[in-house]
Symmetry: C2
Subunit: 90 residues, 2 copies
DNA sequence: TCCTGGCGATGTCGGCTTTCGTCATCGGCC
DNA sequence: GGCCGATGACGAAAGCCGACATCGCCAGGA
């Protein structure tokens, strides 16, 4: 499933907006999420899950091509914590 | 940040829809995502990230309250793979 | 609908990091 | 006002991430 699929479903279910507007809305929502997460902000979508930003420390790894050890730099990552309300999680 | 914040931003930036409609849209989008992921489907939002459904095998754990060993049952989980395009991931 | 540019998946190793069970309480989302 | 999510305890097992080339597919514009 992709953004286009989501936009189509929004268009079909919502009514009153065009396909194009639906696509723009979907784009806007994910751009907003991305922007906030990039700023380090936590995002909580009740019933869906929570996006958290984690700061990961520098650590050792290796170049998988050469086998040489190298440093994986400290960086931020985004983790998703699904809501316990997800169905069929069996 | 929560669903309400996202809805407000959608309302502010999009125009032509009410606050309430914006909230419904946001709700609809995440309900759709949740539903598809619950069905085991992968969801890819280019530029944002990919949600994957993983089947995790049964494994050992322990009751944190009693210290007794117990089994963590096999189950499905959703993992999020952020796009490499996330900014400020430094 | 087509075309083109760009995004994402894939595989490799290994030391370190994260996962998850239960459950009561409280803050906050809807 | 009711429901959802965060929190913490332990430890075996699962997952992370570097580089990078290639190929499949997404997405936006015409």
């Amino acid at each position: 499933m992709t953004k286009a699929d989501i936009a189509r479903i929004v268009y079909e279910r919502h009514g009153g907006i065009s396909n194009r507007e639906a696509a723009r809305l979907v784009e806007q929502i994910f751009e907003t999420l991305k922007s906030r997460l990039s700023d380090g902000e936590k995002v909580q979508i009740t019933g869906f899950g929570t996006f958290l930003v984690r700061q990961k420390r520098e650590r050792r790894g290796r170049n998988p091509q050469t086998g040489e050890e190298m440093v994986i730099k400290s960086r931020r990552s985004v983790v998703f914590r699904p809501s316990k309300l997800f169905g069929a999680a069996e």
